[in-house]
Amino acid sequence: MSTATSAQPMVQLGGIRKSFHHLDVLKGVDIEVGNGQTICIIGPSGSGKSTLLRCINHLELPDAGVVVVDGEVMGYTEKKGRLVAVRAKDIDRQRRTVGMVFQRFNLFPHLTALENVALTPRQVLGLSRKEANALAEEQLARVDMLSRKDAYARQLSGGQQQRVAIARALAMKPKVILFDEPTSALDPELVGEVLQVMKDLAAEGMTMVVVTHEMQFARECASEVVFMDGGRVVEQGSPDEIFGSPRHERTRAFISRVAHETAASG
């Protein structure tokens, strides 16, 4: 499956396969994300969306296939016609170019918002405390959380925690950010503030891969929508194509089901 992307590719997934104890979760996935694009991945629960996202930054090691981020193969170097696994510190370095935002935020609860954001820059970029804090404050301002910089996670609402988590990812100046259902754990009235931050990022030209059930967000912000089912990409296209005239029956069924659920719950 090839898609015409005008932009330079930032993330390329080729032939990604992954199974857990004989359960084939990913059965060969190819996706290309252009520089500055926002790709939304939709699909039923259990279709392998999270696993795919986690393969991109090698939180999960694909059984087969390669992930290329900005031209660099994740986790491997090419040597004498083979891909040889790199060492831990190299994979750490590569992961810094890929930010990730989790469904459950995963803020470090023993650190304040500022410390959450400043920790990694300070530990790995060799910044002084002052420099790291300045960087962290800048990122917290981007998500409108500067006023709560001294709060611990438990003192923040879910939406605020997620915004801090986004700032934490941004502080590493990633080339791409992965979002795994970033609003699914939020109370409905807090979803908007997180989506707004993501919309702003998309508008600023950040490359993003977003697994989401927020169809409205996908419609408005996605450069491409990918529909996954059963460990495969079933269909991929512009939001208009996927939501307006899906080619596959499964896509159509899924979209109408989600639309019903949203209508029922909203």
Partner: protein, 317 residues
């Protein structure tokens, strides 16, 4: 015997509530549970205590001697050695415990087997036995050698103090390792994922993310071990190390005031272990300041109870 804690009757302020029965019920005084068994059992225990205290007061103990030896130079010297031994062994034991726990949790099968074996050996044999083995190391290896660099007689190196430090630290380390392992395993997996995704190196993740979150649940265990070590250090008297117990023995071998001296040092052991408890309380508070683990420890709960009582008391008045 009857407790008459009558609360002041309530008055219904809302005029729209006119039920006569409700008004009458609301105006009745409230009587709380009487708890007669608490009073009875309390009285019984106090009686038993009085009996015991009287018996000891009339018994053949020279209490003035107990007081006189409390600040005896040799006793204070011994106390210093006991505290020193306990502090050193707690610190070393914790360091060993953390190291062994990390090995135990490592994916490297060699490392985790070695750690398992360590815990198995040193948790499975008596401390006194370990102490005697370390002290008698010279019988097995008369000299210690690093070929071409250093050589010494074992007797000169493994002094009673060194043997005690080695034995007690290693044995404490085996216990603490299990505590550390549990505390580390209890840290939310999402924390590790977030750290990996950020590209935070393993070492930093351990130091900055895992340990700070494991600490709150670890402090009580380490505090417990500090108290155990304060007491276990008395074993070192067996290998002729004059800590608190040894000092007492040296004195009562001469003057035969055995029980008096045992009471003297019992007081010091209680003081030392109580202070360790207080220190533990403040460490717990410090590590729990972001309230990562919502442990309610007993001292806090007791304080909260007293405060509540005071508050409701002032409200009622």
């Amino acid at each position: 015997m009857t407790s008459t804690a009558h609360a002041s009757p309530g008055e219904i302020a809302d005029p729209s509530i006119r039920s006569a029965r409700l008004a009458r019920l609301a105006s009745l005084p409230l009587k709380k549970h009487a708890h007669p068994w608490r009073w009875l059992s309390g009285a019984f225990i106090i009686a038993a205590l009085v009996f015991v205290v009287r018996a000891f007061a009339r018994g053949d103990i020279e209490w003035s001697e107990v007081a006189a030896y409390l600040f005896d130079d040799r006793i204070l010297e011994g106390l210093g050695q006991t505290v020193q031994l306990a502090v050193i062994c707690t610190l070393l034991g914790t360091a060993i415990g953390i190291g062994v726990a990390v090995m135990r949790l490592s994916r490297n099968p060699v490392a985790s087997s070695v750690a398992w074996f360590y815990v198995w050996i040193f948790r499975g044999t008596p401390d006194l036995l370990q102490l005697l083995l370390w002290f008698n190391l010279a019988l097995v290896f008369p000299t210690l050698t690093i070929p071409g660099v250093w050589e010494a007689r074992t007797i000169d190196v493994v002094t009673p103090f060194v043997a005690a430090v080695i034995a007690l630290s290693i044995s404490a380390g085996a216990y603490i390792a299990e505590n550390v392992r549990g505390a580390i395993a209890a840290v939310d997996h999402g924390q590790l994922e977030a750290a990996s995704a950020l590209g935070l190196p393993k070492r930093s993740t351990f130091r900055k993310i895992v340990m700070p979150q494991a600490m709150p649940s670890l402090i009580p265990a380490i505090g417990n071990h500090a108290i155990i070590l304060l007491k276990l250090s008395s074993l070192a008297s067996v290998i002729s190390y004059t800590e608190l117990m040894g000092s007492a023995q040296e004195i009562y071998y001469v003057n035969a005031r055995v029980v008096e001296l045992l009471f003297t040092i019992a007081i010091w052991y209680l003081v030392a272990t109580s202070l360790a408890g207080v220190l533990q309380y403040y460490l717990e508070k410090w590590y729990g300041r972001s309230n990562v683990v919502t442990r309610t420890n007993s001292l806090d709960r007791a304080t909260a109870r007293v405060l509540n009582r005071l508050r409701s008391g002032t409200k009622g008045a």
